[in-house]
């Protein structure tokens, strides 16, 4: 197992903090904006409390790799090089944002940064990841793609088709199920009669592994192994990251269906707290360092917000023409 360097540990910390700060900010705007003249179009979908899954997984990638993210993967998007500015432009539905204001919040893609264009239909992007993986093989590129989906999405037929298909063709895909225990108001027990989504790996002929989704270094190590296997031609792996959705489904949802007890027990496992403890244990950082980073990311997000909110709204030009690519 490859150990993370100090630099990497600290970088991961920064990503955790930046994601948290950015999403706290989004939450704050949603809660406080004027509904008649909203800055954020629609709701926010946050990864609060489960950032380590997205970040740890994406951190295992190299430049030539890709991701097919899901709706709580801002951490991964930041690692792929999308900036807080770009992500806020997307939330504000601005002309210069990744989807030019044509789509909003988490429904974005960025081809240059190797990020597929996410759609709402749960699990829909998983077979699309296969296509990228197939093309990598076709083009003889030593690369792979991560396909993220939730516990809820795992019940979609298309996810099954995609995992079986990837196994048959030994595609360089790593399937990351972020099992955060809930699909909107529906708990895991009403979604599946098994304990571990990872158990499905065996049913496709791929390794199925479980890791603690709140420990960023554990997610990283687990995914890195799968990434290496994929790049070596060893085919796909299904990685299940056990975590918990600590926000409502969206910023509008108070999640009253989750018991206080469940929240309290997971609060203790907060991925940032965990990582801070680890950094201290390793002697890589102290409280002062944390404070500095917290302040830094906060001002980065604030600056990005100020900047982004003043960007142009989309214009109706090219709406019809841009449906099709020019030939």
């Amino acid at each position: 197992m490859e150990q993370l360097t100090k630099k990497q540990h600290l970088e991961l910390y920064r990503y955790l903090r930046l994601t948290r700060a950015l999403e706290d900010w989004i939450f704050y705007i949603c809660a406080n904006q004027n509904p008649q003249k909203p800055l954020i179009i629609g709701k926010g979908y946050l990864s609060t409390g489960q950032e380590a899954t997205s970040i740890g997984a994406a951190y295992a990638l190299e430049k030539e790799d890709w991701i097919a993210q899901s709706h709580r993967d801002f951490g991964a998007l930041l690692i792929r090089g999308l900036t807080p500015r770009e992500l806020l432009l997307q939330y504000f539905s601005k002309e210069t944002g990744p989807t030019k204001g044509r789509d909003a919040n988490v429904h974005l893609g960025h081809t240059g940064k190797h990020v597929l264009g996410f759609i709402s239909h749960m699990g829909a992007m998983v077979p699309v990841a296969n296509g990228v993986a197939f093309a990598m093989k076709y083009k003889k590129k030593k690369a792979c793609i991560l396909a993220f989906f939730g516990d809820g999405a795992s019940s979609q037929g298309i996810v099954h088709e995609a995992m079986n298909y990837a196994a048959v063709f030994k595609l360089p895909v790593v399937f990351i199920c972020n099992n955060n225990r809930w699909a909107i108001s529906t708990p895991l027990e009403e979604q599946m009669a098994i304990k571990n989504v990872a158990d499905r790996g065996a049913s496709y002929g791929m390794p199925g592994v479980i890791c603690d989704g709140n420990k960023v270094e554990e997610v990283y190590q687990t995914v890195l192994k799968a990434v290496r296997l994929a790049k070596k031609g060893g085919g796909p792996t299904l990685v299940e990251c056990k975590t918990m959705r600590m926000s409502g489904h969206g910023t509008h949802d108070r999640a009253k269906y989750v018991s206080d007890q469940e929240i309290a027990s997971w609060k203790k496992k907060d991925p940032i707290m965990h990582h801070e403890k680890l950094l201290k244990k390793l002697g890589y950082a102290d409280e002062a360092y944390f404070k500095k980073i917290i302040a830094e990311v906060k001002s980065e997000v604030e600056e990005a917000t100020q900047w982004a909110k003043n960007q142009a709204d989309p214009s109706i030009q090219n709406q019809l023409e841009d449906v099709f690519a020019r030939s």
């Binding site: 539905s93 044509r102 979609q156 529906t186 009403e190 269906y257 709406q319």
Partner: protein, 325 residues
């Protein structure tokens, strides 16, 4: 006794009364139980009828509609909810291949009502705003209902649930808590396939259904000041649709505007236009005008979505244009 109810609450009342009336009626879908559905439409029904008759399912639209078919074959009257009608794309095969063809092929009735919120103007983007009704009108074996008032929503839902056929009940999510009107307390039905004239007029027939009805009425009020009278017809059911009422109105006005929120090209409005051009030619005094959405995916930004959707101005322009004939 009647009182003013929100569109969403009228739907819930229909569900409750149908479940009281018939023990074979039951509800299921994603988050419909304790949570009451993402729009709160099924709220409290779980408490009243318990987990057997109000049930959460996994995130599996195909399995949901599959269940509905099997349960109906066995004699139940399932009322599944699809969280957004957009997600029907993941369950087309059970819907159009099995459900729509079952009675014709096997001879067994399938009394299923699929509730699916539909429509846009809420700035929630392409995947939560689509209007897919034309696909289903083009699918022999399905009935398609699109209510625009709380009163209609209740009465049409009761009819749909009592109907012995698969009905796609496309709730207008924009209207859930925007529209309130008088709804009788007792259970009642409104026959499927009957249009209603929302406002009478002698110059132009405006045919619409669902939430654009309100836009049409606004236009009618404005145009009246100019001396142009719109007769606004709300179809309520789009398959089967009420040819009599359309023909009668058109025979008087000789001009027609067809309005819907769905994409214009190959939308249900095309069927209406074709109907007028084929079966009412003798009354035609002007081009048949269609107003629908642009041929693009549905954008999120309000500036873009407003541009995408047919507007009040579009109706005014079309009406004024027609009066030149």
């Amino acid at each position: 006794m009647s009182r003013s109810l929100y569109y969403a609450d009228a739907i819930r009342e229909a569900l409750r009364q149908c479940m009281q009336e018939d023990g074979d009626v039951y509800i299921f879908g994603e988050d419909v139980a304790l949570y009451g559905g993402v729009f709160g439409v099924t709220k409290d029904l779980f408490h009243e009828f318990g987990p057997k008759r109000v049930r959460n399912t996994p995130l599996s639209e195909g399995a949901i509609l599959g269940e509905a078919i099997g349960a109906a074959v066995y004699g139940l009257r399932p009322v599944p909810e699809i969280q957004f009608s957009d997600f029907l794309t993941t369950a087309m095969s059970p819907l159009v291949d099995i459900m729509a063809t079952y009675h014709y092929r096997v001879g067994t009735k399938l009394p299923i009502t699929i509730r699916a919120p539909s429509g846009g103007a809420l700035r929630i983007g392409h995947f939560h705003s689509k209007c897919l009704e034309a696909w289903f009108v083009h699918t022999p074996g399905l009935k398609v209902v699109v209510p625009s008032t709380a009163y209609d929503a209740k009465g049409l839902l009761v009819s749909s649930i009592r109907d012995n056929n698969p009905v796609l009940f496309l709730e207008q999510k924009k209207l859930y808590r925007e529209i309130k009107d008088e709804v009788p307390e007792e259970i009642y039905d409104i026959p499927l396939g009957q249009a209603i004239i929302r406002t009478e007029g002698s110059h132009i027939t405006l045919v619409t259904y669902g939430s654009p009805t309100y836009l049409a009425l606004k236009a009618a009020a404005l145009l009246q000041k100019e001396g142009i009278e719109l007769e606004v017809i709300d179809l309520r059911t789009i398959y089967p649709f009420d040819k009599e009422t359309l023909k009668k109105s058109f025979s008087k006005t000789n001009r027609v505007i067809i309005l819907h929120e769905a994409v214009k090209i190959a939308g249900f409005g095309a069927e209406l236009a074709a109907f007028f051009a084929e079966e009412c030619f003798e009354y035609m005094a002007a081009p048949i005008m269609r107003l629908g959405a642009l041929h693009t995916p549905i954008p999120t930004n309000p500036v873009l979505e407003d541009h995408y959707l047919p507007s009040l101005q579009d109706i005014l322009d079309a009406a004024r244009g027609l009066m030149k004939y």
